[in-house]
């Protein structure tokens, strides 16, 4: 954090990466309506999963540049070697912070991974399986399995030494059920984080004009100050409330696709494909992280000095934490619940 703070103090906004996000696979066993990732099952052209040794090579390159790693997808548990990937990432590569992001529906088949994880993030938008399954387009039994798994593995947190985080995408449809979801998390000793649904890299209109939504975010801020285990810095939650611009530093959290492609400098600019970014650098073709990062910068230039061209809340939290360390420190001192929050606890979308 310190070298980046020095850079910020010198008005150098080209910050060093802090956490990496590796998409273990583009495949998913669900098809959530708000998912903008790979189109999940909607996209039949997803590549086959990479063999274990190639995945480990990619993770090894990443480890050369970062201590913290998020494994995500698609659904990571659809990768045939996910158990080995997690355990070897922890034991061989010794990532200091290892987080797995999953929909939770296949967790019971892979309990072994819990031994290697520092954090387990499960997506849950509603605690009533019937409406939830309808809202996001998921079979009812799957929703029931996810809820059952969350309860079961929440109880095993202390045994395995990981923290379970519930990540909720706030949509106008699930908003009325959000208070009961909070209760569920408190009862099961789960950390919870929220992000608003985005459409076209912008907050969904119905949320942006909703008083109910902004009231709920205010409520989260109050609950957090009273000690509720709600993740997200105050600055992040305030940003979500009014959707105010923030200085985005996407390079803090580089993303690597299943086949090893580095998404540079961020997913929206990379996906736009208009010369501002791209995915021409592949982890399988470089010797180390520094080379990969340098190559990407040479190809596409430095990341934008500041970017307000989209509203990707998954970049907001690390950007705000990095840019406002004193605000974060203040929170840590004032509310014990905030001590759970750091650059590795946010939930990348």
């Amino acid at each position: 954090m310190l070298p980046n703070l020095v850079k910020l103090a010198r008005s150098d906004r080209h910050l060093d990466p802090r956490v990496a996000i590796y998409y273990v696979t583009g495949q998913c066993n669900l098809n959530c309506i708000y998912c903008e990732d790979f189109g999940a099952r909607r996209n039949g052209n997803n590549q086959r999963p990479l063999p274990l040794e190639q995945v480990m090579h990619i993770l090894g390159i990443i480890r050369g540049g970062m201590d913290a790693l998020f494994l995500t997808g698609g659904e990571p548990f659809t990768h045939p070697d996910i158990d080995s990937i997690v355990l070897r990432a922890k034991t061989e590569l010794q990532f200091k912070e290892l987080t797995l992001i999953t929909n939770g529906s296949l967790l019971h088949l892979h309990e072994v991974v819990l031994q290697g994880l520092d954090r387990l993030v499960i997506s849950l938008d509603c605690t009533d399986p019937l409406p939830w399954s309808k809202i996001i387009g998921m079979p009812l039994p799957t929703a029931q399995t996810i809820l059952s798994n969350i309860r079961k593995y929440a109880a095993l947190q202390s045994k395995y030494g990981y923290r379970m985080i519930i990540n909720t995408v706030l949509t106008p449809e699930v908003l009325p059920a959000a208070p009961s979801l909070l209760e569920f998390c408190f009862e099961n000793q789960l950390l919870v984080s929220f992000s608003p649904q985005a459409v076209n890299n912008w907050p969904r209109y119905e949320l942006a004009v909703s008083t109910e939504y902004s009231n709920f975010i205010h409520e989260l801020l109050l609950l957090k100050q009273k000690g509720a285990p709600i993740l997200g810095s105050d600055a992040y939650l305030q940003t979500l409330c009014a959707f105010q611009p923030y200085d985005c530093y996407p390079a803090l959290a580089p993303r690597i696709y299943p086949d090893g492609d580095l998404s540079y400098p961020c997913r929206p600019l990379e996906k736009a494909g208009n010369g501002q970014g791209g995915r021409d650098v592949n982890m399988l073709h470089v010797q180390d992280w520094a080379t990969a990062w340098k190559l990407a910068r040479q190809t596409y230039g430095q990341p934008p000095r500041s970017c307000h061209s989209c509203f990707q809340q998954c970049y907001a939290e690390p950007s705000l934490m990095q840019a406002q360390p004193l605000a974060l420190l203040h929170e840590w001192l004032r509310y014990p619940a905030s001590r759970e929050t750091n650059l590795s606890t946010y939930t990348p979308g």
Binding site: N201, G275, H308
Partner: protein, 502 residues
């Protein structure tokens, strides 16, 4: 034979008209949009003809590039329909100042939007930049507080929300005593934003402009660029969406006059007649004045001025020294701002990558006598002055193009409430939309056009018992600016109270 199959007729296919039509069509109505231009939809955001430079094709356009962070309703509308392109983040803006003896420059944009000082003190960050200090002199230091106090005036008065036209007061009266460089800087900002000389800028418009774009929040100055010309990247997809939702758009339909009254309006368009129950007049200010004049005879209505400008594009076979992608020219320059297109637009990026060339677009916001010069003379003057700022490109010019834009650019101002047309008009079933329309919305240009378009659509929807579209709120002032704003308003109330008692 009148064509009467339309629920609502929207006159004008710019952002105001398309926004209105889109929101009507989303609720199931079948609006008909009539656009005067014979070839391109979009008004000031329309795309234009292509020109060829060295075998590469580039599309011309009016010259709108920036999408500001405060354009919230405009962006929300685009995003809701998956029409919001990935914008190009702005990096930095350069202030180029030319006095009698020299040309100096300083990067200023990031100092304003990333200032370490809270609004409205954020401009002080400029004084931490050596290049800015080299651009000003001792006279500027002596007049610093005087200059700042005029800027702070914008916190105390919200002309649009408070209905304060400040008639007869022009910006020029207030900056006469400013020091040369600071005057050049702020009049440059005003000229870039409001497109004319300070003497012609109404004070109310200037203060409202400052409030919306800069004095209340540092991040209000944050913006991004469209990735391509406005037609390609925004308006043409937007028009397609209106059609997909059941709207009808017809180009080359210049409306002459309106006849009748609700519930049976007739829109006369050359030899064609269209009938409808409701009309949204979403043309530019000058065109609205003509249509309403033709329709209802001489009137005493107030219409903000419409301004013309000129755009020069220059192509070079090499790139300039590294520097900001855009900026403003102030002082003794004929042109007023610039954009390096190969750093913004996709086709220019591709051309630059292949050839190493660069292309700049400069805007000339009057005065009228400059714009009236023969094209060759104006071009020669621009090129000659341009080389003073970028001498490394002398001798590398590949191609030049001058474009005159018609007088459709609104000079923001506020007329008397009984004369300046608002969204609702004196004629039942006739609504106005556009950036010239009187409304408490604090927004300008694209955002104001979009916001008034949505509001006009909402009135139509409401009259038919349909749900309207709530507008997104604008961000509040930063705490310190908000505190000053409250204190100044309270002071003004006290003064008014005292006067009343006297």
């Amino acid at each position: 034979m009148p064509d009467s199959a339309h629920d609502v007729i929207v006159i004008g296919g710019g952002i105001a008209g398309l926004s209105a039509a889109l929101h009507l069509a989303e609720r199931g109505l079948k609006p008909l949009v009539l656009e005067a231009d014979a070839r391109f939809i979009g008004g000031r955001l329309a795309g234009g003809d292509e020109i060829e430079v060295g075998g590469w094709k580039f599309r011309l356009e009016h010259g709108v590039h920036g999408i500001w962070s405060q354009y919230r309703n405009f962006q929300a509308m685009l995003a809701r329909h998956q029409l919001r392109p990935v914008f190009v983040p702005s990096q930095e803006e350069l202030w180029i100042y030319r006095d009698e003896n020299s040309v100096r420059s300083a990067p200023v944009g990031t100092a304003i939007r990333h200032s370490i000082f809270p609004a409205p003190l954020h401009y002080l960050h400029l004084f931490l930049r050596p290049s800015f200090l080299f651009t000003i002199d001792v006279r500027d230091w002596l007049k610093l507080f005087h200059t700042w106090s005029v800027l702070v005036m914008s916190l105390g008065v919200d002309p649009y929300a408070e209905d304060q036209p400040m008639e007869g007061h022009m910006l020029g009266e207030y900056i006469g005593k400013w020091s040369p460089a600071l005057r050049a800087f702020f009049t440059g900002l005003a000229r870039n934003g409001l497109s004319t000389h300070a003497d012609q800028i109404p004070l109310a418009g200037f203060l409202a402009f400052l409030r919306f774009y800069t004095t209340l929040r540092r991040d209000a100055w944050a913006f991004s660029y469209l990735p391509d010309d406005g037609g390609t990247s925004l308006v043409e997809p937007l028009a397609k969406r209106v059609r997909d939702l059941g709207g009808d758009i017809r180009i080359g339909k210049r409306v002459d006059r309106l006849a009748g009254e609700a519930p049976q309006w007739t829109v006369e368009c050359g030899s064609e007649f269209f009938t409808t129950q409701q009309i949204i007049l979403a043309v530019d200010s000058a065109a609205a004045e003509v249509i309403l004049g033709n329709s209802f005879g001489p009137n005493n209505l107030y219409f903000p001025r419409s301004l013309s400008n000129a755009i020069v594009r220059l192509w070079f076979d090499r790139s300039p020294h590294p520097g900001p992608e855009s900026g403003m020219f102030t002082g003794n320059f004929v042109m007023h701002n610039f954009f390096w297109l190969e750093r913004i637009y996709v086709p220019y990026r591709q051309w630059h990558k292949a050839t190493g060339g660069s292309a700049i677009e400069v805007h000339i916001y009057g005065p009228d006598e400059t714009l009236a010069q023969p094209d060759a003379l104006l071009l020669a003057q621009v090129i000659s002055e341009f080389y003073r700022a970028y001498p490394e490109l002398r001798g590398h010019l590949l191609y030049q193009h001058l474009q005159h834009n018609a007088a459709v650019h609104t000079l923001p101002s506020l007329g008397p409430s009984d004369r300046h047309p608002g969204i609702e008009t004196a004629w039942a079933g006739l609504y106005c939309a556009g950036d010239w329309v009187r409304d408490p919305l604090p927004a300008f240009f694209l955002e104001r056009a979009c916001g008034t378009g949505i509001k006009a659509a909402n009135l139509v929807l409401e009259s038919r018992g349909l749900a309207g579209w709530p507008l997104l709120k604008y961000l509040p002032p930063e705490p310190f600016a908000g505190w000053i704003e409250k204190r100044m308003r309270r002071g003004r109330e006290r003064i008014r109270e005292k006067r009343r008692r006297i």
